[in-house]
C-alpha cells in the first residue's frame, strides 16, 4: 500500500534536489547546465517553503514560493543574457576557459 504523502517526505525530496543542484553548479563546466542547476536549487527551496507552510498551517510559505518563481524567471532571463554576452566575447561557454578572476 502506498503510504500517505507526508510533509517531511517533501523535505527529503527538496534536500536531494538541492544537493543535485549544488553539485551541478560546482561540477558541471557548461554555463547553461550551471544555470539549470541553479534553477533546481531554487525549486528545491520552493518545495521547502510549501512543505513548511503545510506543516505550520500558514499561507506565507505558499505566497513566498510564488514570489521565488517570479524572481527565478527574471533571474534566468538575466542569466541567459549574460551567458550569451559571454559567448559573444569569449566564444565559449566552458567555465574552465573563463578564469579572468585570477589575473
Amino acid at each position: 500500500m502506498i503510504p500517505e504523502l507526508q510533509p517531511w517526505m517533501l523535505l527529503i525530496v527538496a534536500m536531494i534536489v538541492f544537493t543535485i543542484g549544488l553539485l551541478g553548479v560546482i561540477v558541471r563546466k557548461n554555463l547553461l547546465i550551471m544555470l539549470m542547476s541553479i534553477e533546481l536549487m531554487l525549486n528545491s527551496v520552493n518545495l521547502c517553503f510549501v512543505a513548511f507552510s503545510r506543516i505550520h498551517h500558514l499561507v506565507e510559505g505558499d505566497l513566498t514560493a510564488l514570489f521565488v518563481m517570479t524572481v527565478a524567471a527574471a533571474e534566468s532571463a538575466v542569466g541567459l543574457g549574460l551567458v550569451i554576452a559571454l559567448f559573444r566575447t569569449l566564444r565559449t561557454v566552458d567555465s574552465d576557459q573563463i578564469q579572468m578572476l585570477r589575473d
Binding site: 549544488l22 553548479v25 560546482i26 561540477v27 563546466k29 550551471m34 567555465s95 574552465d96 573563463i98 578564469q99 579572468m100 578572476l101 585570477r102 589575473d103
Partner: protein, 620 residues
Amino acid sequence: MILSLLILFPAVGFLINGLLHLMAVNSKRKISANVSGFIATAAMVASFGVALYQFLLLRNIPAEGRIFEQTLFNWISLGKLQLDFTLRLDSLSAVFCLVITGVGSLIHLYSIGYMHDDETPAKYFSYLNLFCFMMLNLVLGATLPHVFLGWEGVGLASYLLIGYWYRDLEKVAAGQKAFIMNRIGDLAFLLAMFLAFRATGTLDLLQLQKIGLEPALVLPFGLLIFFACTGKSAQIPLFTWLPDAMAGPTPVSALIHAATMVTSGIYLLTRLSSVISSSETVLMVIAMTGAVTVFLSALMACAQTDIKKVLAYSTISQLGFMFLGCGVGAFDAGVFHVMTHAFFKALLFLGAGSVIHALHGEQDIFKMGGLMKKLPITSWTFIMGWAAILGLPPFSGFFSKDEIIYQSLTSPHGSVSFFILAVAAAFLTAFYMTRLLVLVFFGPSRVDAKVAAKIHESPMLMAAPLIVLSILALVGGWLGAPVHVGAETTTESHAIEYAVMGGSVVMALIGAFIAHKKYGQTSKAEKVNSFLLNGMKWDSFYLCTFGTGTQKIATGINTFFEEMIVQRLIRWSAVAVDLSGNILKIAQSGSAQGYLAMMAIAIFAILAWVIYGVGQYGKL
C-alpha cells in the same frame, strides 16, 4: 655690579669678528688682521681692566667676605633643579681672571703680528675671543653646570683653533683627537655632577662646599672629578692630545694649551678642594698621577725634535707639578704655579712662535742654531723664560715650583717617592730646556741656506708681549702665593725648606750643565730615541686597545652575531613566507566553481558544527 662686563667684552668681540668674517666671506674680500686684531685685543684689554678693578676692590674687603656675585637671569628651571646664571668672583677666580685676561690680552696683541698674512684673521680672532669668553665663564660660574658650560666651551674653541688651518687634514685630525680625548673626561664630569646633585640636591659650588658629601660618596665623586681634570689638563692617562694640539697656530698653543685652558683642571680641583680633600685615597691618586706625569712627560720632552712639542711635553710636566701640589694638599701652591707657569710658558711659546715666524715655518730644532745674534729680543726673553721654568732664583718658577717640591716632601700627604720624582723631573726639565735653548739660539747654525738669508727679528707687535711677559716671568714669583685655599700646611722648619730649595736649584744647574755639554756644539741632527719621541707609544697603545680593539669586537659581532644569527634569521623567515605563500596560492585558482565548492564545504562545516552543538547542549 660690573662683573658681567668681564664676560661681555669678549662675547661682543667674538660677535663683531664673527660677523666681519661672514661679511668677508660673502663679499669675497679680506678683512685686515689689524682691524679684527684690534677689535679682539681691545675687548680683551677692556676685560682685563674690569678684572683688575674687581680684583682691587676685592682686596679691600676683609678675607671672609671676599665674594662678588651677580645673577644675570634664571637659567634652568626644572622641578627640583633651579639654576641661576650667576657669576661669582672670589680670590681664586680673580687670580684666574687676571691671568686669562692679562696673558690673553698680550697673546691677542702678539697674534696681530703672527697672523698678519693669514687668509681669515677675523675668524681666528673671533675664535680666540670665544675661547676667552668661555674660559671666563668656567672660572666665574657659580654652579657646576655653569662651570661645565665653560668647560665644554673652551673644548670647542680649542678644537676650532687646533684645526684652524683646516685644509691640512693632519691638523684637523689633531683637533678631533683633542676633542674626543676631552670628551672622555667630560663624561666623568657629568657623572660627578649627577652624583653631587643626587646626594645634596644642589649644584651651587658654595653650597656644595658648605654641605660637603657623605664620606662614602667623596671617593667616587673625587675620582670622577679628577678623571675629568686629567682630560682637560692633559695628565696621564688622557694626555696624548696635547702634543698633537700643537698643530694649531702658536699663539693658540700659548694661550689655550699652556696658560689657561689646561689649567682649568687645577681650578676645578682647587674649587672643590674642601669637598674632595677629606678622602685620603683621592688625594693620593691625584698626587701619584701628578708625580708620574711630571716625570714621564719630562722624559718624553728630552727626545722631542719639534720646538713646540718640547714645550708641549714640558707643559704636561708642569701641569703634573700642579697636580702633585694639589694632591699633597697644597692647593694654593698649585694655583700659584698656575700663575707663574702661565707667564713663563706663554713667554716660551710666544718665543718659539717668534722663532718659527722668523724661520718661515721651520719647527725642527736641529735645523736651527745660532739665532742669538739675529733674534736678540726673542733670545733674551726666551732665556728669561728658560730661567723661570728651571726655577732659578729670583725668577717666578723658583718660588712656585720649589713650594710644590717642598710640600711634596713635608706635607702630611706627601712622601719621599713624590719628592724624588719631582726632583728628578726638575733635573730633566733643566736638561730638556737647556737642550732646546742651546740648540735653537747658540752653537753653530744649522739653518737651511735659503731660509737663513731671510731671518729677521719679529715686528714690535710681537716683541712687546714677549718683553712684558718676560718681566712678569721675572717678578711674578714675588706676588707670593696669592690665594689661600684648601688645606694649609705650616712651614715649621725653614732648614728643610732651604735645603730643598738649594737641592733643586743645584739639580737644575747640573741638568743644564749636562745638556749644555752635550748639545753645545751639535752640528747635525741627533738620533733620538723613537720610543720617547712618540710619547712612549701611548698613542699606539690606545690605537691597539681602544682603536683596533673596538674594531675587532665590532668585526667579531658582525661575523658571529650579524652574519650567523641575524642574517640567517632573516633569510629563513623569507623562505618561510615564500613557502607558505606558495602553498596558499593553490587555493587561488581563479575558477569560480572552485571558490563555490570551498564556500559550500565551509557552510556545511559550520552547519555541522551548529547542529552538533544543538544536539549536544540543546541550544546554541
